[in-house]
Symmetry: C2
Subunit: 228 residues, 2 copies
C-alpha cells in the first residue's frame, strides 16, 4: 500500500508539473501573438501587457523549479520518471526564454516609427505565426508524450530561418535606400532575430520531448547567419 | 561505513561535476576572446576554431547532464546537496549558451567588410573584455562557493549595457551616413547584442551561484532596449 501511495503521489506531482508547463506555454503563445499585434499596430498598451505577463511566466518557471526539486528530494525517482522531471525542468527554462523573446519584441514597440514604410511588418507576423505554431505543437506533443511528432515540428524551423534570411536582406536594403528609417529598421532586425530564436527554442523543446518520451536525442541542427 | 562511503562517492561526483563546469567555462572564455580577435582582425581561421570548439562545450554540457542525472538517480541527494546538483545542471546550460553567443560572433566574421571604417570595432573588444571577465569571475565564485562575490559581479552588467547602448547608437548613425556599409554594420549590431547577452548570462550564473551557496535568490535585473 505504501508503494502504491508513493506512485500515486509521484504521478500527481508529474501531472502538476505538466500542468504548470502547459500554463507557461499558453501564456508564451499569447505573448508572441500580442507582441506582434502590438508591433504592427503600434499598440503600446498591448506591449505593456506582454511585459507584465512575462512576470507570470517567470513565476510559473520558479514554481516548476521548486516542485521539480521537491519531487527529486521526496520521491527520488528513477529511470523514466527521473528523465521526466529533468525534462520538465529544462522545458520550463526554455519556455521562460521564449517569453523573454516575446517581451523583448514588446519592448521595441515604442521605438518604431514609419510603420507604413516597412514591408517586413507584413512578413514578420507570418514568421511569428510559424514560430508560435511550432511552440504550440511541440507543447501538444509534450502533453501527449508523443516523441514521434517532434521531428516534423523541428523541420518547420527551416521555414522560420528562410523568413529570417529574407527579412534580414529586405531590412538591409531598406536601410540603404532610406537612411532616415535606419533606427526603426534596426529594431525590426532584432524582432526578426527574436522570432528566429523562438523557432530554435521550439526545436530545443522538441529535443527534450523526444528525450523524455524515448530516452534518445534528435540529431542537432545548426542556426543560420544570413550572409546579408 | 556504508553511509561514509556514500558521502564520499557523492562528494567525488560533485567534484567531477564542478570540474566539467570549470572546463566548459574555460573554453567559453577562450571562445569569446578568440571570436573578438577573429572579428577585429578578419581572421576566418580563428573563427573556424571557435565554431569547432563549440562542439566540445556542447559535449561537456551533455556530460554534466548525464552525470547530474546519474547522481540524482543513484544518490538521491537532499537539501544543500540537491541544490548543488540542480545548480550544476543550470549553470552548464547557461555556459553552453554563452558558447553559442561566441560561436554566433565567429560566424559573422566572414560577413564583415570595411573593417577600418567602424569605430565599434574598437569598442566591441572593450565590451567583450568586461563580459568575459564577468564570466571568469562568476565561475571563480562558483568554484570557491562564494555567494557574496556575486552581487558585485552582477553590478558590472550595467557597464556592458552602457556599451551596448553606445555601440547601438554609433552603428545606427554609421548606417545613416554610410549606406554602403549597412550590411556589415547590421552584423556588428548583432555582435554587440551577443556580448550584451553574455553579460546577462554571467548574471544568470551569478544567481545560480548565489542560490547554490545561500539558498536565496538575488533580486532580478531587467534587460535594456536602446531607444536608438
Amino acid at each position: 500500500m505504501v508503494a502504491e501511495h508513493t506512485v500515486k503521489a509521484f504521478d500527481e506531482d508529474i501531472t502538476r508539473l505538466r500542468g504548470l508547463i502547459a500554463q507557461m506555454g499558453g501564456l508564451a503563445e499569447v505573448s508572441i501573438s500580442d507582441a506582434m499585434e502590438a508591433l504592427v499596430e503600434g499598440r503600446e498598451d498591448l506591449a505593456r501587457e506582454v511585459i507584465e505577463r512575462d512576470r507570470k511566466i517567470d513565476a510559473l518557471e520558479a514554481d516548476v523549479d521548486r516542485l521539480a526539486v521537491r519531487v527529486l528530494a521526496l520521491r527520488a525517482p528513477m529511470a523514466d520518471d527521473l528523465r521526466e522531471v529533468i525534462a520538465a525542468l529544462k522545458i520550463a527554462g526554455v519556455i521562460e526564454r521564449i517569453g523573454d523573446y516575446a517581451k523583448n519584441i514588446a519592448k521595441r514597440v515604442g521605438h518604431i516609427a514609419h510603420r507604413k514604410k516597412f514591408e517586413p511588418l507584413t512578413l514578420l507576423p507570418a514568421m511569428a505565426e510559424i514560430a508560435s505554431t511550432m511552440v504550440h505543437d511541440v507543447l501538444t506533443a509534450y502533453a501527449a508524450r508523443d516523441g514521434a511528432a517532434t521531428s516534423e515540428i523541428v523541420q518547420r524551423d527551416a521555414k522560420v530561418d528562410a523568413f529570417y534570411d529574407s527579412i534580414f536582406r529586405n531590412l538591409v536594403s531598406h536601410m540603404v535606400e532610406n537612411p532616415t528609417t535606419v533606427s526603426s529598421a534596426a529594431q525590426l532586425l532584432f524582432v526578426a532575430r527574436n522570432l528566429e530564436r523562438i523557432g530554435d527554442h521550439a526545436t530545443n523543446i522538441a529535443e527534450q520531448v523526444h528525450y523524455a518520451a524515448t530516452g534518445t536525442y534528435l540529431p542537432e541542427r545548426e542556426e543560420v547567419i544570413p550572409p546579408a
